[in-house]
Symmetry: C2
């Protein structure tokens, strides 16, 4: 395999060599004291990342497994759920609710636009039987950060549970599960935490447990009660190597300090946005104040084929960025700045983006230093 | 972490350094052509291990996730399932059926005993509405191999689907999904395939698809239709590093040749059994011809505390073997011989077992070579 590429998509992300080394440690027995101590310690440490005193479980699975668990454990057929959608992953929650035969009340926004808090308030007032509200904190598909704190305040004044996907923001943006009133917070390993994909995380509030206890749902592998009641908070064989990796990843975050780790993401996001604007490009989110800390979504200029842009970035420069998903294919590009990514990678990515745009006929003046390089 | 131990439990198993190195390769974009080619190739190669032309899917999750998927996709509330149980994992299938509100018809055998084929025949004749039969090929909890081929013949003459757990035998014992008529075969990464835990496998027959298409079940992450319909047979982010590891693990198996890899397991099982019998120990399976190829289950001799035996094996010799589960705690020990384990590890394990038994008062004559070593 040719490993001479730079991965700049919004997850999975380049994994730090320290994490790979940790993951290569000898496999311990998953039911032994030593491993279970290590495992439980990491789930305790994850509470600090989630900023919560709630239970946090680590599971083997993709991030979607945690989203599924968040719904499967609280929904019986017919239960009403308000699903706020403004991108692919908001829609995923809606589809999960449907899979469990919940009744979806959809609050749908155009991809890239902001959520109107008043709409949420009205929807909840209109139908007090709504059992849960689902939303995405950081829409990976659009690069928009949604206002969880504000919506949490509204939801907390009702009986509904707040279910949030923080897969692409946890660790890379401020998330306050307890202060914001998130009852079920689903996240994943392969974004700002810095691990390969394959592990997911979920936090569960007491309010959520009260509902879970009364819900006669259908699930087994993702049954949260089994996790809670297990001595080691893990009823099935844990992903041992990923647990070693998580310890190392959390060590790295601790060395920075969580707030600095988040600030690093914030700076990289700002650098990416400012560089894009300097090139005359437009950000995809309608309101710049909603721009994500972890993925920057940029409109492809008129007359340029976005899929070609992504392809040439890879072929000519070995830089892998993401295009748009679903109806945004070819219309936007997305640059991830998560986990181990540093300013160096942003500089080279934005420089190569400019050169590639120029190659595609976009009018732009290369910096003196890039002028000769672009001809090599 | 102290890595000076030898892991001899029936999974997870010591992972070959080649696999760890492969897993340390740079993360590729999970939706890129190169990764998807690699991913699809491994699922094709897994078909050879399953000996099937059926679809085989690779999922992020523990083996239990594959067991769950095998049930969740075919069972609606009230559907009848014949669950053959003679150990912990047979019972797990029963519990999964209950979780999906299926009606369980249990054919229960004492742990360690064999399944009576005639009982299965009668149960199916008695109730033609039975939609599926669940069983475990290799009961990790008891060290018994169950007769899947024979039961398959009976089930195939009915309308029921045959659902089999091969988690602790796939790769280490002969499994013929097509010839035996297994409709849904669930397996995992961390046993005879040789990977760390965190990936699971499932094969799905056309007969199973016919039922799945008509079943109005409730699942999302584990919904097999979503896997089938996805262009890359993977609707959610794949465990990228585990996929690299799987390629390397299958390369290792190919270098041996699958039949030799299985024969290696068979030889180690025989070596373990013969050594145990030479020590005057009794095998736990009631019928020796049913002894597993991948885990050997041995009765703890009268007057000896099995939990103490396991503890001293670890403390005095750094060898980690497994005890009994549930009601067999303290009564049996289990030695795994899966994946990368060779005869060397069996020799040292059985030698240390003898020394430990002697330390606990068991009457046994150490080999001349062990006599001086045991005093050091």
């Amino acid at each position: 395999m040719n490993e001479d590429f730079l991965l700049m998509i919004p997850g999975p992300i380049p994994v730090h060599p320290r994490i790979f080394r940790a993951m290569s440690m000898k496999i311990m027995p998953h039911r032994g004291e030593e491993f279970n101590k290590l495992f439980m310690e990491q789930s305790e440490r994850m509470k600090k990342i989630f900023k919560t005193k709630n239970d946090v479980f680590l599971m083997a699975g993709s991030g979607t497994a945690a989203m599924d668990a968040a719904i499967a454990n609280i929904i019986q057929p017919g239960d009403k759920v308000l699903c706020i959608t403004s991108g692919k992953f908001g829609e995923r929650f809606r589809d999960i609710v449907k899979a469990y035969k919940g009744t979806v009340v959809e609050l749908k926004y155009e991809w890239g636009s902001s959520i109107n808090i008043e709409d949420v308030k009205k929807a909840l007032e209109k139908d007090p039987s709504i059992k849960a509200v689902t939303m995405v904190h950081n829409e990976t598909s659009t690069g928009v950060r949604n206002p969880v704190a504000e919506i949490g305040k509204i939801v907390r004044s009702t009986k509904a549970l707040l279910v949030v996907d923080t897969i692409s923001s946890l660790g890379g943006d401020n998330i306050e599960v307890d202060n914001w009133g998130i009852d079920l917070c689903a996240s994943g390993s392969q974004k700002c935490i810095g691990l390969p994909p394959g592990m997911c995380f979920i936090s569960v509030s007491q309010r959520a447990w009260d509902v879970i206890e009364k819900t006669d749902g259908t699930c087994y592998y993702l049954n949260l009660k089994k996790y809670k009641n297990n001595k080691y908070k893990a009823p099935y064989t844990q992903p041992v190597s990923m647990t070693y990796g998580l310890k190392e990843a959390l060590d790295i975050i601790d060395e920075y300090g969580l707030e600095n780790w988040i600030k690093k993401h914030e700076k990289l996001a700002k650098a990416t946005r400012e560089a894009a604007k300097t090139l005359g490009l437009k950000l995809f989110p309608q309101d710049e104040t909603t721009c994500s800390n972890t993925v920057t979504s940029i409109k492809v200029p008129e007359g340029i084929d976005g899929q070609e842009l992504v392809k040439l970035m890879r072929e000519n420069h070995g830089i892998i960025i993401a295009g748009g998903q679903d109806h945004l294919k070819g219309k936007i590009i997305r640059i991830g700045h998560m986990g181990s990514i540093t300013k160096k990678e942003i500089i080279v990515t934005m420089a190569c983006l400019q050169m590639t745009l120029k190659d595609l006929g976009y009018k732009t003046e290369l910096a003196p230093i890039l002028n000769p390089i672009s001809k090599i």
